[in-house]
């Protein structure tokens, strides 16, 4: 028997203590406020300061919105109505919202086309973003680029059809040949696609168009086979930012993946090409690359060819974006445990199969938050094209609208509108990214 104290030995509880509510003043709103807002002199001062800031913001902004003026034609009429009361002149947005969204010269009868393309964008992107939707929707995602091009730029439907045909033929060729080796599959696919385009080129020449549609292309077959063309230089407004953003991000994904793999490769020449490209692009501001697109790139194309400004801008922004995506994916590849590479090798998979089936899916999953960050940053950076005189949303506001006699001087309302548009899109994308991160983390438990 040990010399333990008599009072401490051999205790058994037979009845359970039920849970009781916490004492008042120890929980609830008062305690919360005491602890969080007023817990010390410094905190109290900060709380009062914070409340004052919120109050001044509300007092400043609310009357401006409450007294806002709609339905007038120009700023002088606006001022008459508000009579110096400091109301917002939202009439400018009411009058000019089409220009702000679609640009100065996009024909207004055709506004339904980019709008449809925008709505379909969500449908096309949904199976990529939300993994529990049926995989059959991915077919629409594959069709979407061609459909959207035809909707926005117009032209006869044979153009996107032949383009798509080339890709389809190439894909089947790849499937047939990849058993021999990945490289042969790739070359075969490219050769088949180019062959298809060369063979079907005659279909989209103007002569054929005359044969197929007669002399009245705007006639009965319009809408199904032909949409009026819109030149690239007539694109503008927020639509231009969206087009640049989606096209450049989508194109830069495969290029970024290739660059990341190349940078990791053991072959010195491939590695150094990728390193030099990535470090060069990341070291210079986007504006200089846009200068290249504007004035320098044309020198490198064959003489007598003219390439659309928007195409040159797309090329440079895609290069820019792919360098940053490459770095994000390189981080994803590095975060993958070494054991995955070893397991793939031990199963006898060659480089292409291991990369395609095992390494890339996991690395891409890890890189999603970083890639979404790059995408959001790129979308914001598309506003820089206003500096090289393209009329995106910022260019429209600074250019035609603010310098018109009707609306000179209305700046708060327009910039608030632009800021709100960008905020909605960017915040939405970053919320999606946070949601995805949370979902993937629980998946990794």
């Amino acid at each position: 028997m040990s010399d333990t104290h008599a009072q401490t030995v051999a205790f058994v509880r037979h009845t359970e203590i039920p849970p009781a509510p916490p004492p008042a003043g120890q929980a609830g709103a008062v305690k919360w406020m005491r602890e969080n807002l007023f817990s010390g002199p410094f905190n109290t001062v900060m709380t009062l300061l914070g409340v004052y800031i919120i109050y001044s913001l509300i007092v400043g902004i609310f009357p401006w919105i409450a007294n806002s003026v709609w339905g007038v034609d120009n700023i002088r009429a606006c001022r008459e109505v508000t009579q110096g009361n400091g109301g917002a002149c939202f009439a400018v947005i009411e009058q000019r919202w089409q220009q702000l969204l679609f640009g100065f010269e996009y024909p207004s009868t055709e506004y339904w086309r980019p709008t449809t393309a925008f709505v379909l964008l969500f449908v096309a992107v949904a199976p990529v973003l939300f993994l529990n939707l049926p995989r059959a929707l991915l077919i629409f995602t594959g069709i979407y680029p061609f459909l959207a091009y035809w909707l926005i730029w117009g032209g006869i439907i044979l153009i996107p059809i032949t383009a798509a045909l080339g890709f389809i033929v190439g894909y089947f060729a790849f499937k047939r040949l990849e058993h021999n080796s990945f490289a042969i599959g790739l070359f075969g696919a490219v050769a088949a696609a180019v062959l298809t385009w060369w063979l079907t080129d005659f279909l989209i020449q103007p002569a054929t168009r005359g044969v197929l549609f007669g002399t009245d292309p705007d006639g009965m077959l319009r809408g199904l086979l032909y949409q009026p063309e819109v030149a690239s230089r007539n694109m503008g407004g927020f639509m231009l930012n969206m087009i640049l953003g989606t096209v450049c991000v989508s194109l830069s994904l495969p290029i970024g993946i290739a660059l990341a793999l190349g940078r990791q490769s053991h072959m010195p020449i491939i590695k150094w090409i990728c390193v030099i490209f990535i470090e060069f692009i990341r070291g210079v501001p986007l504006i200089t690359l846009l200068f290249v697109a504007n004035v320098v790139l044309a020198y490198f194309f064959p003489p007598e060819t003219t390439i659309d400004l928007i195409l040159r801008v797309i090329i440079m922004i895609t290069m820019f974006s792919s360098a940053y995506i490459a770095e994000v994916i390189r981080g994803g590849l590095a975060a993958l445990p070494r054991g995955q590479y070893e397991a793939a090798d031990s199963l006898g998979l060659d480089y292409a199969q291991a990369t395609r089936l095992i390494i890339m899916p996991q690395a891409l999953k890890i890189s999603i938050p970083g890639s979404v960050n790059v995408a959001v940053g790129l979308f914001k950076d598309t506003t820089l094209v206003s500096v090289i005189s393209m009329f995106d949303l910022v260019g429209m506001i600074r250019g035609p609208i603010l310098s018109s006699t009707d609306w000179a001087g209305v700046y708060w309302e327009l910039w608030a509108f632009a800021a709100a548009l960008f905020f909605v899109v960017c915040y939405g994308i970053s919320q999606y990214s946070q949601w995805l991160e949370r979902k993937l983390q629980t998946g990794h438990r």
Binding site: L37, S181, V284, T288, A419
Partner: protein, 408 residues
Amino acid sequence: MTIATDPPKASFRLSMLINATRYRSYTFQAIALLALIVVFSILGNNLAQNLAAAGLNISYEFLGDPAGYDINQQPIPYNSQDTHMRASVVGALNTLIVAFLACLTATVFGVIAGVLRLSNNWIISKLMSLYVEIFRNIPVLIWLIIIFTVTANVFAPIAEFRLPRDGSDPERTLIFGVMAFTNQGVFIPKLVFGDNGALVIYTFLASILGVFGLRRYARNKLFNEGKTVPVLLPALAILIVPTVLMYFVLGRPVGVDLPEMGRFRFEGGLQLRTSFIALWFALSIYTGAFIAENVRAGILAISKGQSEAAAALGLRSGRIMNLVILPQALRVIIPPLISQYLNITKNSSLAIAVGYMDLTGTLGGITLNQTGRAIESVLLLMLFYLTFSLTISALMNVYNNSIKLKER
């Protein structure tokens, strides 16, 4: 008895070029190199043909020609007769000045916002979240233009500072007699250095070293004898007293050139143009939001167990932050912080949108347009930013390697 022999070498066959891994990598690289050479020759050929057709060539001689335009914000003397080279140097200096200042203020904004976002005070942390989310999700160009438009429209025109003809007081006067906020910029006093003015500066720098020496002395006293020495007040004294003494002893060698209202405009003093102020403020407050996130992530990355262990040992929260949390958090915070600084430098090229004459505005803007030397100018422009970025990245790699936590 075994005789060690070399394994038999397979005889070389042509198909091994594709199939055997060693030869395959050579083949790929050879193909890649070939493709690269072909692409570059096509591009170079196009370039040569296009240049010939336009009657141009590639040369940098234009840098020696007179520029013929004025630059409104000049850190070093410049006039329109100076060369394009000098104009570019002025532009580069403007870029570095605004980038440096923006990095400083962005860090201040970012650290304050990041730390406050972690505070228990619900109102403050929500306000800071609002700041971060609003500024991160709107393009910096829009912020720049908004801030520029506000400062150009909200501040008073210079006319209101002029003395009216009838001798009555002007509508507005300088703040404390030294500063004026106008819609063309902010006028502040300029420091004018007399003969011994540099000595005052050296004294100030020496007193900064003195503060570090004081801290080291206090630390050694604690380690060796266990006594704490007050540091804050003596440090302030060291910073202020010697410099002020020096200033008076030398007969006030540093003067102040105050802006004064002349007939039509301010004379004397230093004018910080609206474009400069707008660019500085926009870059700081925009990048500050990103830095706030980095700071917050860095502090959160340190596991709670570290502060619990330090608290269990009896350390108070100030010491815990200084000795345990911050050293570890800084390792996580500093690399993304440096890349934000590089972003500031690259984003400063937006100056061209508000008329601030940085390098993109001089070399990539007016010089390019006037001389038509697009390729040379853009190349030089990109080279400047590239050199700057690569240098800072290299320095950061050195720093990272030196503070890496040692592991097995």
